[in-house]
């Protein structure tokens, strides 16, 4: 068991290290960064803010990790968030009650995932094209549901999901932590994880070994749709309204980025949900950090891109082998190493 833990630690080390470095860098620019305060039974502070703001991308990253592990990709999650936000707002305003609203909304997300899954698994359409369909159409569907306006609501139950707190943590944080833990456990404690990895590495060999590749593929996209639905509810609850145009806009790209920053290969196979969640936190830390550091806002996107490029370069196989090379030659030629480090 200790060897498993050790393997886990080695796997997550680059992400943890990157996160720590970024947090430290922000704290230099913004000394109050690590301060936490308890007010009215809820924690406040920049760190909590990162966890809270990062909730949608973290949730999307859970489903995206599994889909990417099957050698697929889901571009539609942002649009599915918009659809589900709109459905939630429409249901709650037409008096379905909180439970009914949540069930219908989650069902909508599952249906969206089912659509993607069938296109990919049954019709054998390339995932990037198959999910592009819903990415484009989804926002239109959401606009049809909200009839072009921002559909507001003030149901306290639904709003609680966006801004309430439980055990001192904001609800969105509780939701993504619990959901991430549940999915990780289900995937790793059953054989699902291994079967998904096998499918992602070699679909035909897996099929010939008796793996139900079609069912697994569809299930992966359904999970992704479900994650998008939860993220959509949180996003809508947060602003107490469904904005079909902007909810989840470009978040599919952040989710994919989170998976990649988490060190998961876009070619499928081995995956770690925990690493993707750390990836999501890294992205959110960069976002929040730039804002807190007081850089002019027009630099934000460029700085974010630069930091992410840096993380990806450090993770790239070439850089890895270069590090190995450098650390070996360090004794022999320290001057050169220093020069190259610059």
């Amino acid at each position: 068991m200790t060897s498993t833990l050790k393997a886990y630690a080695i796997r997550l080390f680059p992400q943890v290290a990157a996160l720590v470095v970024i947090l430290l860098m922000v704290s230099f620019a913004f000394p109050d960064f690590f301060r936490l305060e308890m007010q009215n039974g809820r924690l406040y502070g920049s760190l909590i803010d990162i966890l809270n703001r990062g909730a949608p991308v973290a949730l999307l990253a859970i489903g995206m990790t599994v889909v990417i592990a099957t050698k697929g990709i889901d571009l539609s999650v942002g649009a599915v968030m918009a659809i589900c936000g709109a459905v939630a707002a429409a249901c709650i305003t037409s008096g379905y009650g909180l439970v009914g609203t949540l069930l219908v909304t989650l069902g909508t997300g599952i249906l969206c995932g089912l659509w993607n899954g069938v296109l990919v698994a049954v019709l054998d359409i390339q995932p990037i094209i198959a999910t592009l369909v819903l990415m484009v159409a989804g926002r239109g569907i959401a606009q049809l549901i909200t009839e072009g306006a921002i559909l507001t609501f003030n149901d306290p139950g639904l709003i609680f999901i966006g801004s309430g707190s439980l055990l001192g943590l904001p609800m969105p944080v509780v939701i993504w932590l619990v959901f991430g833990l549940v999915v990780s456990l289900v995937v790793r404690r059953t054989a699902l994880g291994m079967l998904i990895e096998a499918l992602g590495v070699n679909r035909r060999a897996s099929m010939l070994s008796g793996v139900s590749t079609g069912v697994l593929l569809i299930a992966a996209y359904v999970l992704c749709g479900l994650c998008a639905a939860i993220a959509g509810i949180i996003a809508a609850a947060d602003i107490r309204g469904a904005d079909a145009n902007n909810a989840g806009l470009w978040l599919e790209l952040d989710a994919i980025l989170a998976v990649v920053v988490g060190g998961n290969s876009l070619l499928g196979g081995r995956f770690s949900i925990a690493a993707s969640l750390l990836g999501a936190l890294i992205i959110q830390s960069v976002n929040t950090g730039i804002l807190l550091s007081g850089f002019p806002p027009e630099f934000n996107l460029i700085i974010k891109a630069a930091i992410i490029v840096l993380i990806l370069v450090i993770q790239s196989p070439r850089a890895q082998s270069a590090f190995v090379f450098l650390s070996r030659s360090q004794g022999a030629a320290p001057a050169k190493t220093e020069e190259e480090a610059k």
Binding site: T4, R189, T190, A191, L192, M194, L195, E197, A198, V201, N202, R204, A205, S206, M207, L208, S209, G210, V211, S212, L216, G269, R270
Partner: protein, 508 residues
């Protein structure tokens, strides 16, 4: 010896070395003007390597190539094309989204005032294709036409560009009989025009139908060049498979033909376009060998038995009950197992560990909700790593880092872990080293002694003879003969493969 100038192309002592393998070893090949010269050999014999050396796709590592008596050293296919050597591949290498005329004149379109003169181009295209008795709309997209027509367009382009040597690399692989006839008419006409034509195919019928001479390669070496008329079919097959017919008698054959109850019974089992319906009985503790040349339907037989391709006719039953072989998953539930021929594509899951690869089929059968515990997986992996002597530093090593033979043993372990009743092995010994080879043969024999039913497909005839109780011979995607007991000899198998098509297909 023919006078030198009757050869349009002659290559002597061609060597080609790849890292770790000698693909061609001093191969001689000469092509006369106005002949169709068949280039034959099993997979990996070096046919395509030779062709690629001739057409400049590969740089040769030794030897001379003379075209019209002059030394040439093509650096690229374009250069070879300009010198007069044109090639048409099995997969037509034209642009399906351009028109027929554009394809014919791509890169050399007739121009007027610096712009492409489409009308002139279409006129010339029509004239060119008329020579091939092909009357089609040259302004339509190439993709709108059948593969056969595309093939002819490719030939027309190659001949128009090059005009001395035409290399046809398996041109008939995806054509039906009628289209093959059309293609052959065109090839014969080009022969009359004095072109030297190299014809690569796996269909021996077509070789005898069309070619004037035959060159056989095996393991990168020249076996010989013969006049087609002087080479009986069985001698040709012996050349290809490399068996000395006279000495090869079934001395080592374990002729104790299994006489137990028939355990698996297939009747009229087949799939249109894959394999003609066949009958097959397999007993417990019996090894049924399947022999035939490449493309004869060996792998197709395996795939249909395992449900990788669904049978569209016939029945399969065991112990009086129908078998569900509608998918690999269903077949595995019936305790079937299948080691595919293409280990890399269909067998291994490269990034996963040896342990996971061994556990995969068993885990898939148990379902995702009942995981095999890590301790059990470790035990399973260690057991088979030891039993089959899989050489790996540890069980967590990604399987893609193992050698071919050890990968094959791990795939075998994957199936043995499911404790199958019926195991199908497609070329279990291909591309693996000699030591592993012998171990796998021993394994087949011991599995059979334990009462497993096995189907083994192999192009190694001696191997088949050694462990098979019966051998089914395939030709042209049909089961054409069955050799039992004393009949199971390499000579007998070669004889059955070579038997003329008319005898084999009484109903055709």
């Amino acid at each position: 010896m023919q006078p030198v100038n009757s050869y349009v192309l002659s290559a002597t002592g061609i060597d080609k070395i790849f890292p770790g393998a000698r693909a061609l070893n001093g191969v001689d090949f000469s092509l006369r003007r106005g002949e169709v010269h068949a280039l034959l050999g099993e997979n990996g014999a070096g046919k395509s390597t030779l062709v690629k050396c001739l057409t400049g796709a590969y740089r040769r590592d030794g030897g001379r190539i003379l075209l019209d008596g002059a030394d040439i050293d093509p650096q690229s296919t374009l250069e070879a094309q300009n010198l007069g050597i044109g090639t048409v591949y099995q997969e037509v290498n034209l642009l399906p989204n351009l028109t027929v005329a554009e394809n014919l004149f791509l890169g050399r379109q007739p121009k007027r005032f610096g712009l492409i003169d489409t009308r002139e181009m279409n006129r010339r295209a029509r004239a060119l294709l008329a020579e091939y008795e092909l009357d089609i709309d040259v302004t339509a997209e190439l993709a709108a036409y059948s593969v056969a027509v595309q093939q002819v367009v490719a030939i027309a382009r190659a001949v128009d560009l090059s005009g001395k040597v035409l290399i046809l690399d398996e041109p008939t692989a995806s054509l039906d009989a009628h289209e093959v006839a059309m293609l052959f008419r065109i090839v014969r006409r080009l022969r009359e025009r004095g072109l030297g034509i190299v014809f690569i195919t796996h269909f021996l019928e077509q070789v005898y139908d069309l070619s004037d001479r035959i060159t056989v390669l095996r393991n990168g070496q020249l076996v010989g060049t013969r006049e087609t008329a002087d080479l009986p079919r069985r001698d040709l097959i012996a050349m290809m498979l490399g068996r000395e017919l006279v000495e090869e008698v079934a001395t080592e054959h374990a002729a104790k033909a299994a006489d137990g109850e028939v355990r698996f019974r297939f009747r009229g089992f087949g799939r249109k376009g894959h394999i003609e319906p066949f009958d097959l009985d397999v007993r417990a503790g019996e090894v049924v060998g399947i022999a035939g040349l490449l493309g004869s339907g060996r792998t197709e037989t395996a795939e249909i038995l395992f449900g990788a391709e669904r049978a569209d006719s016939g029945t399969a039953e065991t112990a009086g009950r129908a078998l569900d072989l509608s998918s690999p998953r269903a077949a595995i539930r019936e305790k079937f197992g299948f080691c595919p021929e293409d280990r890399k594509v269909d067998g291994i899951v490269g990034d996963l560990s040896v342990r996971e690869n061994i556990a995969l089929a068993l885990q898939a059968r148990r379902g995702w909700a009942r995981p095999i515990s890590r301790a059990e997986q470790d035990r399973l992996a260690d057991q088979y790593i030891k039993a089959l002597d899989i050489r790996t530093s540890d069980r967590e090593k990604p399987i893609k880092l193992l050698s071919g033979g050890n990968q094959q043993k791990a795939i075998l372990a994957r199936w043995l872990a499911t404790n199958p009743d019926f195991l199908i092995l497609d070329e279990p010994t291909r591309g693996i080293d000699v030591g592993a080879h012998a171990e796998i043969i021993r394994l087949i024999e011991s599995l059979c002694e334990k009462g497993m039913s096995l189907i083994v497909i192999s192009s190694e005839l001696e191997e088949l003879v050694a462990y098979s109780h019966r051998v089914i011979v395939l030709r042209d995607r049909a089961h054409v003969a069955e050799l039992v007991g004393e009949e199971v000899t390499t000579a007998g198998i070669v004889e059955a493969i070579a038997a003329s098509a008319s005898a084999g297909r009484a109903d055709a």
